[in-house]
């Protein structure tokens, strides 16, 4: 029989409700808890250089996160968010992309940005809101973005990037580029209306976009069990008519392979793909959060057993690609570099006073110019009240 939407459906003569849970979506996994390849698992084609770059990036963000949380506690930066437990999901997915594919992130994906080539000092400049920050010190720490590396500037309002990714990808298709957009978001953000809008439009307009959902079990304090009643986000992809896969997000090889295949579909078939990557958020939501208020240490321990770095490292060592000795030296070096970079970034001048008024529009309006000049005169009158800018006004 033909549906009103022109699709042929089969007919049954008994009322047949499909039970919730009738559709089981399995999780693709390559590595076991220790990091051994599971028998029969399809292992991606990955060269040594890429594998090591993924590992180095994961290691980098692990150390960076640790150091910056300490820096926040010391009052050197106001805020921080870590990706503890999700390093493989974020890094390996970014690694499967082309260099000019667009990335639209939520906020916990600085590993993808580092993989792309964002340097330590660039991270620091943003977090310390100094004049070298590409965002001109306007946004809170970790709101990175760079046109050069095709990484859209983070926006705090959740899920807004999802329909934007659809539109960006449509533009890529129209331009005839063999490129795609990858959009990261959390399982919490997937509850927003923008998720529905973006996913549906992507499927309808057949855009080369990979929707990468990081299901880490929590949205701040809200557990996934209070976020949705289904078994995850993956099942929704099918509802939109979208190719979908669920992967173990603590398994760098599974994530890498799934994203590689998704990219092929996106770019070659101009079709969106949904990837639900499952990896527990091992740390607090942010430095403003204390998870002891809503979850147990036992629960954290249980999920903490599956460390993406440990697993991937084990696999690399088995391949003979990693030297444990070298790693110790590299780690110590990295810690030193990060500390040094903090010291450099925190004493660099803050953005000039005028930057408060630029970029509201392409050209400053007369109205804004007047407000800027009035404020300038005021600051000159009370220089000690505005230490960030008073020394820099002529």
């Amino acid at each position: 029989m033909l549906n009103p939407n022109n699709v042929t459906v089969s007919v049954v003569n008994q009322p047949h409700f499909i039970e919730n849970g009738a559709l089981e979506i399995p999780m693709y996994q390559v590595l076991d808890e220790q990091g051994n390849v599971i028998e029969g698992a399809e292992v991606p084609d990955i060269d040594k250089e890429t594998a090591l770059k993924i590992f180095d990036t994961m290691q980098f963000v692990r150390v960076l996160d640790d150091r910056m949380i300490a820096a926040q506690r010391q009052g050197r930066i106001s805020f921080y968010m870590q990706c503890l437990g999700e390093e493989a999901a974020i890094t390996a997915s970014a690694a499967a992309l082309g260099d000019t594919d667009m990335i639209m992130s939520q906020y916990r994906e600085h590993a993808a940005l580092h993989y792309r080539g964002f340097k330590l000092d660039q991270f620091m400049n943003q977090m310390f809101s100094n004049e070298l920050d590409l965002g001109k010190g306007r946004q809170m720490p970790i709101h990175y973005g760079t046109k050069e590396l095709h990484f859209a500037t983070v926006s705090s309002p959740l899920a807004t990037q999802i329909p934007q990714a659809t539109g960006y990808a449509y533009g890529q298709k129209l331009a005839g580029k063999k490129e795609c957009t990858l959009c990261y978001f959390g399982e919490g953000a997937a509850s927003e209306g923008d998720f529905h809008a973006g996913m549906n439009m992507a499927a309808v307009h057949k855009v080369p976009c990979i929707f990468f959902c990081r299901n880490n079990g929590y949205a701040i304090s809200t557990p996934a069990s209070e976020q949705f009643a289904g078994d995850g986000i993956a099942s929704r992809g099918l509802g939109y008519g979208m190719k979908t896969i669920r992967v173990d997000g603590s398994d760098a090889l599974a994530v890498y392979h799934a994203t590689q295949l998704a990219r092929k579909t996106a770019v070659e078939d101009n079709a969106p793909v949904l990837i639900e990557s499952c990896a527990y958020r091992l740390g607090g939501h942010s430095t403003s959060d204390d998870p002891t208020g809503y979850r147990t240490k036992d629960e954290e321990k249980q999920f903490g057993a599956s460390d993406p770095l440990v697993k991937f490292k084990h696999w690399l060592e088995q391949k003979g690609w990693l030297d444990a000795q070298d790693e110790q030296v590299k780690l110590a070096q990295l810690r030193k570099e990060i500390l040094a970079a903090v010291k450099v970034a925190e004493v660099i001048d803050k953005p000039a006073f005028e930057e408060m008024f630029t970029d509201v529009y392409a050209e400053m309006t007369p109205h804004l110019l007047e407000q800027m000049n009035e404020l300038k005169a005021h600051i000159k009158k009370y220089p000690e009240a505005y230490p960030v800018t008073s020394g820099r006004i002529d």
């Binding site: 304090s221 208020g293 953005p351 509201v360 009240a385």
Partner: protein, 325 residues
């Protein structure tokens, strides 16, 4: 009577309401066992159960749509939007639904038992998206009332009144004062009037008006101005819609001068509405142009937050300009 902060005062108002009314429900992102990211709803789930206080999925349009339905059914719907900056996904539900439920149905239905609580304002290093003061967008919408408390005592009394109000209310909470504002607050129930401004201090030469977190800013500015011998009258507007122009008019008829302060950007901020009305009603009594000390017409910047804020120094300068015009 105990000395408590604004969060505790709000928590107490919610507690009293849940205790008194079996059909009162508190919901929003993270308000359940965690008690909200600012802890305004602490212990409410423990005390009243998951049916009466719960986490919603992360969807503001859903929260307010749900709240509209729940209030239309007759329950007392107390919805939290985690930050006022994140109220915009619910803009349609508020502007087209909450505000028009009664009017469009010929008063067959209403959502008068709805209160939307949301923390607003800057001064906490929140940058673009944890600092905004969006009251003017909603003040442009007939059908929804807007209330902003300035301290712990006001917060409890105004929230309890908002919950009894027969119209839907958006209750903007000055988050920078959540813990900073500590004062004597009665343990039991009491109400402060909605739609009534308060003259916080009498004076003769300049009327200085604000609401919410900016009250302590104008009080500081007035202290400075009075040292210069300028006598100021201080008004806390408290309710944005419907605003108490009678009180402001009476004051300006006496002083002949008005300085308005708000954090939101200058253009089309609620100060514009106040200025327009006062010049209509007090034209021949005005001794100087009505002055507005507001945020500039830019997004809220992180690093230049101090420069952005309409602080006591800017207000003090405006008071002097007004007095010496």
């Amino acid at each position: 009577m105990a000395k408590i902060n604004m969060l505790q005062a709000i928590n107490s108002a919610l507690d009293i309401t849940l205790e008194e009314h079996d059909n009162a429900v508190v919901f929003g992102e993270d308000v359940g066992i965690f008690g909200g990211v600012f802890r305004a709803t602490s212990h409410l789930q423990e005390k009243y159960g998951r049916d009466r206080c719960f986490n919603t999925p992360l969807v503001e349009q859903g929260i307010i749509g749900f709240a509209n339905g729940l209030a239309a059914q007759g329950s007392i719907a107390i919805a939290e939007i985690q930050f006022a900056d994140y109220i915009f996904p619910a803009f349609d539900q508020i502007v087209n639904e909450t505000a028009k439920f009664r009017y469009r149905s010929g008063n067959e239905f209403n959502v008068g038992s709805l209160v939307i609580r949301t923390p607003y304002g800057g001064g906490i290093a929140g940058g673009l998206y944890h600092s905004q003061s969006p009251e003017a967008y909603f003040a442009h919408t007939p059908g929804v009332k807007i209330v902003v408390p300035r301290n712990a005592y006001q917060a409890k009394g105004l929230l309890l009144a908002a919950l009894k109000e027969p119209d839907p209310v958006i209750f903007f909470e000055p988050k920078r004062l959540y813990r900073a504002s500590v004062g004597e607050v009665p343990d039991g129930s009491y109400e402060l009037p909605i739609g009534k401004a308060e003259i916080v201090k009498n004076g003769e030469q300049v009327t200085v008006l604000a609401w919410g977190a900016q009250m302590e800013i104008i009080e500081k500015a007035v202290e400075m101005a009075e040292e210069d011998g300028i006598s100021c009258e201080i008004i806390d507007l408290r309710t944005i819609t419907p605003w108490d122009y009678e009180t402001v008019v009476q004051s300006v008829l006496k002083t002949g001068r008005l300085v308005i302060n708000h954090e939101a950007p200058l253009s089309c901020g609620f100060g514009s509405e106040i200025a327009a009305t006062i010049q209509e009603k007090c034209f021949l009594y005005l001794e100087s142009p009505i002055m507005r000390v507001c945020g500039p017409d830019t997004p809220f910047p992180l690093i230049h937050e101090k420069e952005y804020m309409p602080d006591h120094l800017k207000t003090y300068e405006a008071i002097k300009r007004s007095a010496n015009y």
